[in-house]
Structure formats: C-alpha cells, structure tokens
C-alpha cells in the first residue's frame, strides 16, 4: 500500500463500535491504517475489515457515490465514505461514527426504515388524473428545457440520508418529513407532467410535516449530489402558502 509518497503514511481510524448482542457494546476502537494517495475513507474501513478486524460492520456497494449506502459521520459531519478522501480531511485521526438521527443496527450500519417510509409517504412518482391515458398512451410527454430545469436538480437524489442526519429539526421531531422526502415531494410537484397538485399539498398544512423547517440549510451543506433540499423545501412552502 505504502509506496513512499510524500504526505501521510498512516492514519488512525477511531471507529464507533456497537454490538446489540453484547451488554457493554458501545464504544470506540482505534485502528492504524496505512494510506496511499487517493485513498478514500471507505477503502480505509475495508482495509480494517480485511486485515485487522472482521467483526466491523458497515454498508457500502458502488464505491462511486451512486448507490447512497455508505453514509456515515466522518470527523463530525455526515459524508459518503466512498466520496471522502483521507488526504482531504487533513487529520491524523479520523473519527468514524454512524449517521445521527438514524437508529444504529450494528457499528456503522444504521436503520433506514423510517427514512424510506417517509420517502414513500410523499408519493414519489408521477400522478396523472387520467390513468388510462398513462398506461395505454402511445404519445410521450414532451417538456421544454425550462420545464426540466425546474425539477431536474432534485431528481439527482440518491437517498443516502446525509441531509436527514444533518437536520436539527429531524433530530427532535420524528413527524417532520425531513429534507430528503420534502425535496422529492417538490421534485414531483414541480414536474410539468405531474397532476398531483392539490393532493400533494393538502397533507402539508399540519404542524409537523413541512412547517417545522426553519431554514438551517444544513441539508444543502452536506448533500453530495448538489440536490439543495433547503431550496426545494422553501419553494414547497411558497407553493403551500400561495396555492395550497
């Protein structure tokens, strides 16, 4: 691994460990990992799992910031492990914890059930009034460039949950839908092909789903795909107040 490049030769990984089957399960464990240029935090964790400690649990798949499974708290901020270079962090000790606002299953693996069910609850698909036309239609829905631009940015979401982990409202209010689900709600509302309109906005007039957002914008700060959920949520509020 170490090919004598300048810079860091090795770093310490301080990894959060939790085993539900053990009584004294919670705590940190430190590993020393040799580093090479361009190495990501995920590669460091894989080194630990392969060479040092097979009991370490984490979730990952694509290794290229596309699948959204490797979200974790790295040096205090929610990030994708596969998208974070060790050199970029500029610290000798890298602290790796599971995502906040998610229940921990084991070590770095967290439970996304609540997160996904909120995503499902906003009907993340096109709603058409005329279903026959939607299923049997032989014409395609054309959209102008401007129409696409209105929602495209929000369609890049990979459901990694980083925004959900960063949100100070989600931390205490479990009925708040969270940045990811609200951004997706707006993504479909803003789509010129969608006819959900009223139906999508109606459930949002209650106290918790949408209105508890106070624009702390931490979601947009951490989103690895440039989705900007904070913008989507404010535009959604605008729709709710002016139209809903």
């Amino acid at each position: 691994m170490d090919r004598g490049e300048k810079g860091l030769q090795e770093v310490k990984f301080k990894v959060f460990r939790y085993d539900p089957d053990k009584k004294d399960g919670k705590g940190f464990q430190t590993y020393t990992v040799p580093v090479s240029k361009g190495m990501t935090v995920l590669q460091g964790l894989m080194y630990i799992k392969e060479k040092l400690d097979q009991t370490l649990s984490m979730r990952f798949s694509c290794r290229m910031a596309t699948c959204g499974s490797c979200g974790m708290t790295i040096n205090g901020l929610p990030r994708l492990a596969c998208y974070t270079l060790i050199q970029e962090l500029k610290t000798r000790t890298i602290v790796v914890e599971p995502l906040r606002n998610f229940p921990v299953i084991k070590d770095l693996a967290t439970d996304f059930e609540e997160f996904f069910s909120k995503h499902r609850s906003v009907n993340p698909y096109l709603i058409r009034i005329d279903t026959h036309e939607q299923e049997k239609s032989n014409v395609s829905y054309t959209q102008s460039d401007e129409e696409v631009e209105k929602y495209l940015q929000f369609a890049y979401c990979i459901k990694c949950g980083l925004c959900y982990a960063a949100c100070p409202v989600v931390a205490t209010d479990k009925q708040f839908l969270g940045p990811q689900a609200l951004a997706q709600l707006y993504r479909y509302l803003a789509d010129s092909r969608d006819e959900g309109g009223e139906e999508r906005l109606r459930p949002l007039s209650d106290g918790h789903s949408l209105l508890r957002c106070h624009f702390a914008a931490s979601c947009s700060q951490v989103c690895p795909k440039g989705v900007d959920p904070a913008l989507a949520i404010q535009l959604l509020r605008r729709e709710l107040f002016l139209r809903g």
């Binding site: 205490t172 009925q175 007039s205 209650d206 106290g207 209105l211 107040f241």
Partner: protein, 120 residues
C-alpha cells in the same frame, strides 16, 4: 386553526411588530433623550405622557397583542419540536394560549389604568 394559518399569522405579526415596536422604541430612544423618556411625567415623551396620548397608548396595545401572539407561538413551536405526543401537544397548546391571553389581559389593564391616570 390550521397550522398553516398559524404560521402565516406568525409572519404577519412579526412584520407588524417591526412597525409597532419601531414606534415604541422611537418614543423611548430617538424622539427624546433616554433619561427624559424615563421620567414619570412633565415632559412630552415621559412615560405617563405616552400613555396619555391615545394614539401612542393604542400602539402599545397593538404591540402587546402582536408580541404576545408572535412570542408565545414561537415558544410553542420550540416546545412542539422538542417532543411529540397527543397529551403533550394538547397540554402545550393550552398552557401557552392561556399564559398569552392572561398576559394580554394584564397588559391591557396597565394601559387602560395608565391612560386614565394621565387624564386625571
């Protein structure tokens, strides 16, 4: 009341406070020196003179209602975000409304009495 309407009122009262609170601060700080405004009576911007003036006293009443709504709704939002539960939510709503109304009643009493005191 729908929560959406409450939040809309939260913004409107907030903007209203800028006007009413601005007038209140102006009478205390800008229109006359602070130490004169803090006198009990005997100059045009002393405390009792402000209450004697029906328009300024009216502004104070408006300010009282607006701040009571805006402030206590803000407090309510913070408390609702802290924890969720049917009884808890109801209790917070009721307690916050009762305290806010009590404060408005008490403040209105002050304004009415001070206004009459100014006449006599």
């Amino acid at each position: 009341m729908k929560e959406k309407t409450v939040m809309l009122l939260h913004y409107i009262t907030g903007l209203g406070i800028i006007v009413a609170g601005g007038i209140h601060l102006a009478t205390v700080f800008l229109l006359s020196p602070y130490h004169l405004s803090m006198e009990f009576d005997n100059n045009p911007f002393a405390v009792l003179s402000v209450y004697r003036n029906i328009l300024l006293a009216g502004t104070l009443e408006v300010l009282l209602v607006l701040v009571a709504f805006h402030g206590f709704n803000g407090l309510r939002v913070v408390l609702q975000e802290l924890y969720q539960g049917k009884t808890y939510t109801k209790a917070v709503n009721i307690i916050v409304s009762v305290v806010a109304v009590a404060l408005v009643v008490y403040g209105t009493r002050t304004i009415l009495i001070a206004h009459q005191l100014g006449q006599g």
